[in-house]
């Protein structure tokens, strides 16, 4: 091997590595920082793109709003400081996401680290954040395994851990004496698998018997045959837990099959109403049960940030679109960050976590009551009620059914 060729190759390799050691020279001015750097990831392609982009949009909306007011108030410096959002695209790939979370921490030296949408893309951030002692603002990553007493570097800002989602659904079913036979059809992944587990446990021993209980791959896109099997078990209530794609395919095939069940429950019409309505049509959604979330669900006790109507107006005038739940979840992350900056004595990560524990349970936003388990950082406040879509004029309205304190009416049972 000649020396010249060796050095040529090294030049080559060196140039490439330089290329990868991108930007982000730390600019740690002593004293007051010129900006608060918030880092997060989003997916522009791949299975999580739709949800992830919505969530980011909400967070961005908050950033713009705060900066128009001259920045976020930072208690540590007793003044408003502009917020800078640094975002990278992980294309729904966990490998890429791991690299990029690392990039945010080690190269961009962000002050605040927020996770991408959902459990899968959050999962890789958990150990990285812990290793670098960065508090991870987990927005919608609800995997139960993320939260433990050993790791103080995580806080779930929206939605409770997925295993807690069906609490009110189970109670609702148990409160309905006419429902004795229920069918459970779920996609086998962390998110819906844990919900199925909870529902199963909570219904156990009650008058509601699970006459059908089946997990299907998350990639399932045809439910026609499964529905046939369900029908053979003659349930009164059919609970389907899945990701949006599952719910769309399920509702679609249910409509095409011509079958009728007295009660049908799915998750995502309550979160991504516009998408679901345009995909399966309002007729299919009528009388379907769901977990309504904002904007379908309105919290009236808001003591921090705008109420739903104000937010909706502002969001529409900024982007022209009706906000969906993930927009609100992203915005809510911003509110929690804002409150944290306003109360934490320093920008040190554990100081922030302490301040979050201090306002936990006292913060009521348009997304509900923010309350975390002080030991694990898991969300326990924003519980999910049960509601039903009722035809109203040309469209649909949500009737809240359970728990009783939020109920706005009685269920239409059996469905028409």
């Amino acid at each position: 091997m000649s020396l010249s060729s060796v050095s040529r190759l090294w030049l080559f390799a060196g140039a490439v590595l330089l290329m990868t050691l991108v930007t982000g020279i730390p600019s740690r001015a002593a004293g007051i920082p010129g900006e608060i750097r918030i880092g997060t990831l989003y997916a522009d392609s791949g299975p999580f793109a739709t949800s992830s982009k919505s969530q980011l949009q909400g967070l961005k909306f908050w950033v713009d709003e705060v900066n128009r007011a001259g920045g976020a108030y930072v208690r540590a410096y007793h003044r408003r400081i502009p917020v800078k959002l640094i975002t990278y695209n992980d294309r729904s790939s966990t490998t890429t996401a791991a690299t990029l979370y690392n990039q945010l921490i080690t190269q961009d030296h962000v002050n605040i680290l927020a996770a991408d949408f959902g459990s899968v893309l959050t999962s890789v951030a958990v150990p990285i954040a812990q290793e670098h002692r960065m508090l991870l603002f987990d927005q919608t990553g609800t995997g139960a395994t993320f939260f433990s007493t050993k790791n103080p570097y995580i806080v779930l800002t929206s939605l409770p851990s997925s295993a807690e989602w069906p609490y009110s659904l189970a109670d609702f079913l148990k409160s309905q004496p006419q429902i004795t036979r229920a069918a459970l059809l779920y996609a086998t992944n962390d998110f819906t698998g844990s919900q199925a587990q909870t529902l199963r446990q909570r219904l156990h021993g009650s008058h509601v018997k699970l006459v059908f209980d089946h997990g299907v791959p998350t990639s399932t896109s045809s439910y026609a045959l499964l529905l046939h099997n369900v029908q053979a078990a003659r349930p009164q209530a059919l609970i389907e837990f899945g990701y949006p794609n599952n719910d769309i395919a399920f509702l679609h095939d249910l409509q095409a099959s011509g079958m009728k069940f007295n009660m049908v429950f799915t998750i995502f019409p309550g979160q991504l109403f516009a998408l679901m309505e345009s995909s399966v049509g309002p007729k299919t959604l009528a009388y379907t049960y769901t977990y309504p979330t904002p904007p379908l669900l309105v919290y009236n006790r808001v003591n921090y940030g705008p109420g739903l109507d104000n937010f909706r107006r502002a969001f529409r005038s900024a982007g022209g679109k009706e906000p969906n739940f993930l927009n609100i979840a992203g915005y809510n992350t911003g509110l929690v960050i804002q409150k944290t900056l306003a109360t934490a004595a320093s920008l040190q990560q554990l100081a922030m976590r302490r301040s979050i524990v201090s306002f936990s349970g006292k913060l009521h936003t348009l997304n509900g009551t923010f309350r975390i388990d002080p030991a694990t950082g898991a969300q326990t406040g924003e519980t999910l009620p049960v509601g039903q879509f009722i035809p109203a004029g040309k469209g649909l309205a949500v009737r809240m059914l359970y728990p009783p304190e939020v109920a706005t009416g009685r269920p239409v049972y059996p469905a028409q």
């Binding site: 091997m1 000649s2 010249s4 060729s5 060796v6 040529r8 190759l9 090294w10 080559f12 390799a13 490439v16 590595l17 290329m19 990868t20 050691l21 991108v22 522009d44 392609s45 990278y88 695209n89 294309r91 790939s93 966990t94 490998t95 890429t96 791991a98 690299t99 990029l100 979370y101 690392n102 990039q103 921490i105 080690t106 190269q107 899968v120 999962s123 890789v124 958990v126 150990p127 990285i128 812990q130 290793e131 995997g143 395994t145 993320f146 433990s148 790791n151 086998t188 992944n189 962390d190 698998g193 844990s194 997990g215 791959p217 998350t218």
Partner: protein, 302 residues
């Protein structure tokens, strides 16, 4: 000194030194991971001509072998890593009959095999063993520096393997099989044994990479470790640099994965497009990869 030793030592040293001057260790880790996988593809495709689309199956087998050895058998991480490699080799042994298929049939059959592996491991009925679709959590043994060090060692092994093949008659025999399996037989080469050996070596590399990856990320779901894109990346990097050479896959990975992260940090949606165009352009204009250009201008590339 056999050709390529200094080059390999240089590459390994680079990844030993870089963490001290550059903070994004995950990027360095993924770069090494793809260097290993690209060399694994090189061992198989470059030297024997079998294109394993399902190469990621070995990676996933390694990741799961490692994780389950820790979770079920309570192995310490280093022993579990070997278990991961063993799992990949075991899978390769079971799949060895696929080598009877030629060309495109083999490529597609190996892809199918990796899908089978994925659907079995992620099957909810096996949750009590594999955690099914719910994913693996190795937080208890998480150690980012030890797993980084392990990946450096795996990289050294991968480069060493290719240096050996480039300089030995075994490597020559494999290339003979790639060119004309029947003539290779008449050269006295035990075609079945040699190609199976390359297959197992290649699987072991992917298994080790998968095990080190599992340890490094410590929390993962089945889909990401059986993601077809991992095969695709490794194949494209190898083809781009040039197969059956030591430096080709290295240069291909550094350039393209570097580009991936560079674009990925600003404008990644065009990346798949860039990949596709690179593949088509390579086939039409530069079937022997980038290093063949260097060769053409007279450089002696390892």
């Amino acid at each position: 000194m056999p050709r390529g030793v200094w080059f390999s030592v240089g590459v390994v040293l680079l990844f030993v030194v870089l963490p001290f001057v550059y903070g994004n260790h995950d990027l360095l880790f993924s770069m090494m991971m793809y260097l290993v996988l690209a060399q694994g593809i090189n061992v198989l495709f470059g030297f024997t001509g079998y294109l394993p689309f399902g190469y990621v199956g070995f990676f996933g087998a390694g990741a799961y072998g490692m994780s389950l050895a820790i979770l079920l058998l309570h192995f310490p991480p280093f022993a579990a890593l070997i278990a991961g490699a063993a799992a990949a080799v075991l899978v390769a042994l079971v799949l060895a009959p696929l080598l009877r298929l030629s060309g495109a049939y083999f490529a597609i059959a190996s892809l199918a095999a990796s899908e089978v592996l994925y659907y079995v491991i992620s099957n909810p009925h096996l949750t009590s063993i594999t955690q099914g679709p719910y994913g693996i959590n190795l937080a208890a043994v998480y150690d980012s520096s030890a797993s980084y060090a392990v990946m450096v060692a795996v990289l050294a092994l991968a480069l060493g393997m290719v240096v050996y093949l480039r300089n030995s008659r075994t490597g020559l025999a494999l290339q003979a099989i790639r060119e004309e399996p029947v003539s290779a037989g008449f050269a006295g080469v035990n075609v079945v044994r040699e190609r199976t050996r390359a297959w197992l070596m290649s699987a072991a590399l992917a298994g080790l990479a998968g095990g080190a990856y599992a340890w490094h990320v410590s929390v993962f779901y089945p889909k990401p470790v059986f993601d077809l894109n991992i095969s695709v990346f490794a194949i494209v990097f190898t083809l781009f640099g040039g197969v059956a050479t030591l430096s080709g896959p290295v240069v291909g990975t550094l350039l393209l994965y570097g580009l991936y992260n560079w674009i990925g940090i600003s404008q990644p949606q065009y990346f798949q497009l860039v990949f596709g165009v690179v593949i088509v352009a390579l086939v039409l204009f530069l079937p022997n990869g980038l290093v063949s250009l260097l060769r053409r201008v007279g450089a002696n590339v390892p």
